[in-house]
Subunit: 445 residues, 2 copies
């Protein structure tokens, strides 16, 4: 090999070295800022899983994009057959896009040795209640102004279903010779009768619609407000001295209804499924005035499931925190929109589309709602419930069967103690499903 | 400034530059390996929370070290008063030290938009069962060899408590005019009678000890093996044609008992609380042979809690995976000890200490167990149950009261359908508590 001049060699080595410096500096900056996501994913959940999460995320994003670019009816035609649209359940997947936007704000990391114990706080009546979750429940109610929390005991449950059963258990006279009657005004949530009676309990028994309840004896009345399925505000109906009330306020949130004042009842039920869309966590909570009732509800959950998942309580605490944060510092919030702004906006838009489709078809009718002042938003607002309580017109007696022939699955009115000319339709599914539904409905003549 | 010779300057700049390169390369390596933990913590759970977790971890480690360096009796004396030792509940916090050793292997990260839906796998009978969890359940049973999973339906529950109730519901004749009898051989798990009867169900009713069950009619027998509270292997007792069996195998794991063969019963219950110590996740599972029974159990959980926390299922899947990994690749496993080696070793040591303390005191007696071959470990092994079934001797009739005067809280024999001269004592609490207990027991004369 020929001899390379020293000066040339050194100068070039220096340039090379400086270039290497620069690339290394850039790599550090890049890894800190851009590469961090895959970096922690691989560190925390293993390389394969991290890749899976990435692939899944990419795949879903592509799918969502695809459904936006293609019209829904076009999608039907492409497949050659009509796709079945299942709106029987109120699966709140509509909120997914908001939580995707939130990115890491709502990510939770649980270490292997955390939350091993059955106990969360042995000084609390509800000894399995995570203090962090309780704190965020109180904060969110304060931020939204939809419930009084002062002087209340919080009881956490595996969804509000478990709390519904816990409330029946707690409010039933334990030494009665026959079960107490449980009533609710029709149309009532279809699960109430099933949940009340499936164990054939000697403590409580479903007694149906409040209108047909004339017994002069103790009873439990379930007041669901806004009501599932029809969305109307509800008040106690029976109003007799021997009655006790359970207020199911799962839908008393600004995206569904104007907040009139903080609810201030003896026993109120809430759930993250309907407020934030995290149904998979199975977390609900009760605000309970009476200490003895709170103790008995806690006892129920102890005997039923020995407490409630700590992992999901911690996750729910994080979710509620982000919702409160998004409301309190909306103007400075990175994404620029609070959770309730997002969800209210989407619900308003969906109800507009639904009413247009119903008008276009001429085959159906919907409840009409008047506007009211919302103390949360500070302005007049309409109602846009999580379910549409749709009535088939034109002499169609079995609305559920009629729609199922068009491959739209709904829940028949009879399950809600009402007529078969009605169905309940979920309004909280994913955008692509909702679009498909609207187009399908429009086409029915 | 004097002029620096060019050659000198270039050579030194090159050295400087190369040194800088080296330091940058080292920084990248360092940040990848050492700095990753706080890095992801801060990225994922926010800076403040990450610092909290770090502080908490450090604090607990210090506390544990402190309790190791100070003898337990010394701790009592330092405080001037005897500390209350609560061994009434079987809180499995003993396993915490293993999971701390595992570090990030068992850490789970859940993104804000994950698992929003109620549904996990609508093609499965148990539609809320996370496929990843189901996979790890099957794998672990294969690794340990303690249960047949082939031809079984997996039903996940909020702890095995919920599955116990689901099993009663599923096995009860739905159209019977009176509730089916539920029996178990005394001493039986103290929660069975309470859980069976708290709802005053018309489907099933607690009928007590198998020995006193002489009715010629359908019944459900609970076979708990190894038994809670006494640790013995159990077999059906009543053996009549009209009976159905539920096998509660919560403790059929190598740390508690020799594995004789894969359990192969109609309906078997397991839980992570007792197998891995993750009681706070509230995750249990049932292996069910009959499809109709699996469907009915699923229906029960649907009406009870509309499914089971997805977050906890995902976490439990990770935990089971790490346990299986630790067994399958024990020799190459970083920490050098499988989960069952660790837990078996600790339980053997604890039982040795307990037997010594009992002998030293002369006031008590314990069950005696014979050794048997364990197919999992491939050697003869003794029994070291999760609970000690302790008998007070010397004419002490109320063992629970006697021990509580020494500030040791236990569960009285009467709750297990047995004599008050017996108590159940948890063997799975933290090291420092167990030490304190042993020293306290030794001192009783």
């Amino acid at each position: 090999m020929g001899k390379i001049p020293t000066m040339f060699c050194l100068r070039h080595l220096l340039v090379l070295s400086l270039a290497l410096n620069m690339s290394l500096v850039l790599r550090i900056v890049y890894e800190s800022e851009q590469g961090s996501k895959l970096f922690w994913l691989k560190n925390k959940i293993g390389t394969t899983k991290a890749d899976e999460v990435y692939k899944k995320e990419t795949h879903i994003s592509q799918k969502v994009l695809l459904s936006v670019s293609n019209s829904s009816t076009h999608e039907d035609n492409q497949e050659g057959v009509e796709r079945i649209i299942n709106l029987d359940h109120g699966d709140p997947t509509m909120y997914e896009s908001f939580w995707r936007q939130m990115g890491d704000k709502t990510t939770i990391t649980i270490l292997g040795w955390q939350s091993l114990s059955y106990f969360s706080d042995i000084t609390n009546i509800c000894w399995f209640l995570e203090p962090e979750f309780a704190k965020e429940v109180v904060r969110l109610h304060k931020v939204v102004g939809n419930a009084v929390t002062e002087g209340r005991h919080i009881v956490v449950g595996t969804g509000s279903s478990q709390l519904f059963l816990a409330a029946l258990y707690a409010l039933s006279p334990q030494d009665a010779i026959k079960p107490i009657s449980v009533v609710s005004a029709a149309p009532y949530y279809s699960a109430y009768p099933l949940m009340t009676d499936y164990q054939k309990s000697g403590l409580y028994k479903w007694a149906g619609d409040t209108q047909s309840f004339h017994k002069d004896e103790p009873y439990i009345e379930i007041v669901t407000s806004p009501n599932n399925p029809d969305g109307y505000a509800r008040y106690p109906v029976v109003n007799r001295s021997e009655g006790v009330l359970v207020h199911d306020l799962a839908y008393y949130w600004p995206q569904y209804t104007p907040i009139s004042s903080p609810a201030d009842h003896e026993l109120m039920l809430f759930t993250v499924s309907k407020s934030t869309g995290h149904a998979g966590t199975r977390i609900g909570w009760a605000l309970v005035k009476d200490k003895v009732v709170a103790k008995r509800m806690t006892k129920f959950i102890e005997l039923n499931t020995i407490g409630v998942s700590k992992d999901s309580q911690l996750r729910a605490a994080r979710v509620l925190k982000v919702v409160s944060d998004s409301c309190e510092i909306e103007s400075s919030f990175e994404v620029g929109e609070s959770f309730f702004n997002f969800s209210h906006r989407v619900m308003v838009e969906r109800w507009k589309q639904l009413r247009e489709a119903v008008q276009h078809s001429g085959m159906f009718s919907l409840p009409s709602f008047s506007h009211a002042f919302c103390t949360f938003s500070g302005q007049m607002s309409g109602l846009q419930p999580a379910f549409a309580w749709l009535k088939c017109e034109q002499g169609i007696e079995d609305c559920q069967s009629f729609l199922s022939r068009h491959k739209i699955l709904t829940r028949a009115g009879k399950h809600f103690g009402f007529g078969s000319d009605y169905v309940r339709i979920s309004m909280t599914d994913r955008d692509e499903i909702f679009k498909l539904f609207i187009n399908r409905l429009k086409a029915i003549r």
